[in-house]
Symmetry: C2
Subunit: 319 residues, 2 copies
Amino acid sequence: MAQSSPVPAASDGGLCEEFAVPSQVEEVRRLMAEFAERHDAGGRRVVLITSGGTKVPLESRTVRFLDNFSSGRRGASSAEYFLDSGYAVIYLHRHRSLYPYTRLYTGVNLLDSLRLEPGEGEGGSGRVLVDQAELQNVAAVLKRYQAVKTAGLLLPVEFNTLSEYLHLLKAAAQALNSIGSNAMFYLAAAVSDFYIPASEMPEHKIQSSNGPLQISMKMVPKMLKPLVKDWAPQAFVISFKLETDPSILLERARRALDIYNHQVVVANVLDTLRGYVVIVTKTTQHELTLTDDDVQKGIEIEEKIVSNLSAAHTEFMNR
Amino acid sequence: MAQSSPVPAASDGGLCEEFAVPSQVEEVRRLMAEFAERHDAGGRRVVLITSGGTKVPLESRTVRFLDNFSSGRRGASSAEYFLDSGYAVIYLHRHRSLYPYTRLYTGVNLLDSLRLEPGEGEGGSGRVLVDQAELQNVAAVLKRYQAVKTAGLLLPVEFNTLSEYLHLLKAAAQALNSIGSNAMFYLAAAVSDFYIPASEMPEHKIQSSNGPLQISMKMVPKMLKPLVKDWAPQAFVISFKLETDPSILLERARRALDIYNHQVVVANVLDTLRGYVVIVTKTTQHELTLTDDDVQKGIEIEEKIVSNLSAAHTEFMNR
């Protein structure tokens, strides 16, 4: 297991003063380091995928919070394609956001998909069967899921609040540093840009009888900078940029590459999230589009994104 | 089917100017009215349960929103006890919050609970079975769920944003007015007190490069007042009051009864949500507590709440 050396104050991204350290962070760091080193030793690359939104509390005893639009669909489906491409996957995801493989059955009410097996006597056989018209392809999906689980290729880690996300991402970066350029960071989570410092938060539920609400939020420290510079400087790092206004998208993506000095930005627009992205590097930009024909065949854009990025990762490692 | 007469401007709770009408509202109103009248004719009472939090968008093309702590657990479990007590239930719930019966298996990953049935040949029998150690009591729960479904006793209606909730609640109140005191409103949803008017909302995603965020929110119109006064004046109406500070709880509950003139407030404190509530009326207050012994036996506080309120509903109808 890698010893995680103490991090110099300069590179902690301002985390310690403002955001409480979650209790499980040391245990999770150890698990991630073991996972990365085991698969690295077995000749496998490791990708850390972040997925889902973050909750930003408005009160210390939290009733209200700020959230981001994100089901975790992109992260969950990408995890499957990375597993298909031979990666081991650490899936750092928001509690209850979509999960690899099970995401395929999210819209289905569990009990609508089950049947009591008929049999002798009043109660039937007592066995409960899946109706495979409700959960399509479930036998094949279950086989893939069980194979991944048995091989220990998927390590799930959960977060809920912004604080938990920030500390766990830092721990992950430190844990994966020991495998150098064999590590990829695929930062697909929709992380809040704003938060309320603990010191400025009311303890109790804000009363509506006090009249209209004024909220004043500070900017969340950018983790990408210390991640690339200090925590995992040899890794292949991909961030995501979501905009609603297509006219500013590419400029924002290029600016992020300049500021953070990482390898790739996957740029996308809210309205066309599932059908169009641009893979932007310092010197190139490459559009990926899902055609009507692709959609007919059940192809997802994440398959194309992952195929593009795993090839780029190979090139990066060979340099 | 009841004709829904046009609502006078004075009693629309300020909805029309500020909150867009969701497209499905007329169709849902018709379904709810038919449901209520069918069960009323069959001698059954009808309860409308609201459940889950509400999303309040910060941008018109929404990336960020304000949300409330609420899993929908109280509404989902209460629905089951109301069904057990002979009510027909309209379940007006936030999309993806907990659902009656299926809520019992929320923590379980679907694919972890399934097994491929062994059999001849490489692929086994091709059937998929539920592992009943993972989904406890699933055969019994499935039987209850299917019986409720077959008898048409549960009408689910979904909302997502605050706007949708407000319009659907109004439609529900108008739809249930025709069955008079046979209708109960059990308003357990955690509804935002604050929102940003469409006219003051930026169209595009707020840029973090603009610096810290100032949000200014208006107060959401209180629907309880027109509901009790104009939309369903004969119904038995229960609201919920959640506080984090126990010292102000009862005073707030009494104040709500004075202002809105409805029948019951179920008052509860965030820290003891699952073990303690006070049922407050204009003249009484009654504490309900879950003992350690109750917890051992798997009794839930919602069973006690529903038993108390359905008795109070009977008294109310007989007056």
